[in-house]
Symmetry: D2
Subunit: 256 residues, 4 copies
């Protein structure tokens, strides 16, 4: 049953859909406004009509939609990449993890979703504007209480506060500089990840990881392509993002 | 601290690694055996040496590794596809979901991981041998208690027992035949998914979903490619799976 | 040695480059004009400077550039696809071939290039405006004399004039309707090709080809991705065309 | 009309097909032998039956088939890559070109096909066994007279004999070492190409090309995927080569 404050997706089509909290107010779209109050006490899945006669569906947002709807002050880590990082990591409901360089919080959203209400993210960001924006995005998505936001730049000399976390994500321009800090904070046998747009970053990061006590190091790229299914006219979509970043993952072992 | 019964990955390299429970016995590999008892009370991340002098690392398995290590009696849904399904679904820790056609339980493993200990999977399978094998796989992965296994074939006339589940996965040869059953069992505003190897299945499924009250229907394919990072010889891997299946997702709306 | 009338590419960078014939006149660009007369008697490879001080290189155009610079009244067949069609066909210098549905003449340009001055293309097009435009494109590219342009719609009842051609390209919306005509005009043991954007066209075309006496039928898609090589910032391009069309090729056998 | 010595493809299916010259002898296959003499004076496209009752078709080989059937002593450049190189080069019927490092002659076959009987390839190879094998491959393909084979290693101090060629292909492990030699031999305004498996080779080659007077430098990768069209079971092929090499092309400009 929908309650005031619930997150809903008002969905008309793939291009026109809005993420919002359910309130007693009107929600304005370019196709007219929707009276939200009558939705309270109803269920997801309903059709509502704007004052101009356009139908919208009231849907439960997916993680994909939460990620893509964050307000962006930075490039985001895309859902396709976030999904593979989680799959190849040691994150699960209840995990304690570190994310360093949270940008707009899209990946933070994915992690917060995966760790659930029992988990905790220690989220480091040196740019205050980004941090505040990411925090607002997580608040909107209803998961800010799973995140401890820390306005700080991690450097080789100024490291993480936590120890024995289950996973560490490093998303900064020179990830190789933070590998000692990551190694120190990570639980042995667990995974860290980073994402790099450029090959030179990839090689420097991987070679440094090899030196620093990480094994099972893997580098990936992920491509997704939509198939547009239409009667007699089914075909793949015509343009796709062909590069977002290379994902690098590795596992900490205890040094002898 | 490692306890008896914990799941560990004994990892030598990308090709030689073993998933097992920690016991007081010897673990035999083609590189000699490992005495496991001394590991009890230690931590993940250790290096152990076989009686023949080969080093293995004691790692915490990732979801990817759990999925790829299931004993297979059927084709499995690959991690890359499972990861995107979860990302684009309404699954989260605590969800109650249905999976129909569980095969070897690789995808079940991914779902069980995502829903956490508070969630529940109603797992339908008509083939008893597959069901028993999948159950063993989930037991090995330590998540069988999140799954209710049901030896039954779902048909248009013999439908799911549950109602208002948060997500439904249909993985059978003719998914369009089970759409009424899926619609009936799914909570409005929530997602269902299926995976089809062939285009003819894709079009028939999507067009039937459109007729049956699903919207925001999307069809995807996912490709991943490894980059092999080696000094002076960094290159993409030379062969990849170029097709596993097309993922189809859609959202149930309430019919007027 | 450059002569009046030679085709040159005035190249500043990847985005700003112009295909033109060498004349005694000025060539105007948004970066100023170039006096072309002094180039007569010189060689390709020179640098020329506009009156506003911008350098352009005088290059010999590649086939790729000729194709991409045709004036477009229609979608064109892309170089990546044209290149694979030629590779998998029975076209070589001196071939006599048919192309039905020439659109803007980009693919005609590729074929004319491959067959050389001794070859001949019988180029059918039902739309007079497209035909005239394609003819102008081929004239500009200096290969119109290799093409016999025919303003005609090929139908099951109104077939090709030629027999025993070395290759036939069918580029129309319903290629399966022209397979009898193609079979009739093609030399036995030789190849035909078509390109279809949609799966439904692909299956109907392939199944009809199987019925009509074609073998070794293959369907392909081709993707190309640029790597942007820049010091410390080498990465793949970020968006690519992910679908242009499916290429179908088959070989005519003599019916018993 | 088929003559003695003509190249024919005896084709049963995608996996079982043989490239041979037409003789008056028997051609032996694992499905029995074919009497070839009766084919003389007939046409391509015929069906012939082995003494064991299996049908084969007599086809005109495509360039793709000629390339894939070369006897291999080395890795070959794949047709998909050869096709794009030619498309983006300044090769056409009648061109004079250099290829350095010819390996097994698959790419040489593609070039010889593109330049036609009026063209000429200066084909350098330092390994005599490779050279002899490539020569035999070209002889079999009927194009050896378009190629001048030169048993020589090109080095910075031991350069090409030719000048003003229309295109140069460098296919060696350290292409950057041969760029001065390539620059010297190439006609200004024309293209050179190389293919590298590794990123480190790509960056070193491209940066050196920039220094040596090449412009319009492009780096590509090409992927092709087959669609298997079968009634009710149409799907993409399940494994593809995901990396063969990166193609690099550039244009020589005259230095001021």
């Amino acid at each position: 049953m929908l309650k005031e404050g619930d997150l809903i997706l008002l969905y008309k089509d793939d291009r026109r859909n809005f993420l919002t909290h359910l309130t007693r107010e009107r929600f304005h779209t370019d196709k007219g406004f929707i009276e939200m109050e009558p939705l309270i006490g109803k269920e997801y899945g309903l059709t509502v009509t704007t004052n101009l006669g356009h139908d919208f569906y009231v849907l439960k947002p997916t993680l994909y939609q939460l990620m893509m709807k964050v307000k962006r002050l930075t490039q985001i880590v895309y859902p396709k990449d976030a999904a593979l990082i989680i799959n190849k990591s040691t994150i699960s409901p209840g995990s304690r993890i570190i994310e360093s360089g949270i940008g707009s919080g899209a990946l933070t959203t994915a992690f917060a979703h995966a760790i659930g209400p029992q988990g905790k993210i220690y989220a480091y960001e040196r740019n205050e504007m980004f941090l505040q924006n990411a925090k607002k995005n997580l608040e909107k998505n209803g998961m800010a209480d799973r995140v401890e936001f820390k306005l700080r730049e991690i450097t080789p000399d100024n490291r993480f506060d936590e120890r024995d976390v289950d996973f560490i994500m490093i998303d900064v321009g020179s990830p190789w500089e933070l590998l000692d800090a990551a190694y120190e904070a990570l639980k042995p046998g667990c995974r860290m990840a980073t994402i790099c747009p450029n090959f030179e970053q990839v090689t420097e990061t991987v070679f440094t990881m090899e030196d620093k006590g990480f094994i099972d190091i893997e580098t990936f790229e992920v491509l997704t392509r939509r198939i547009l299914v239409r009667r007699g006219k089914t075909r793949p979509e015509q343009r796709i993002p062909s590069h977002t970043g290379f994902l690098i993952l590795g596992t900490k072992i205890t040094k002898p």
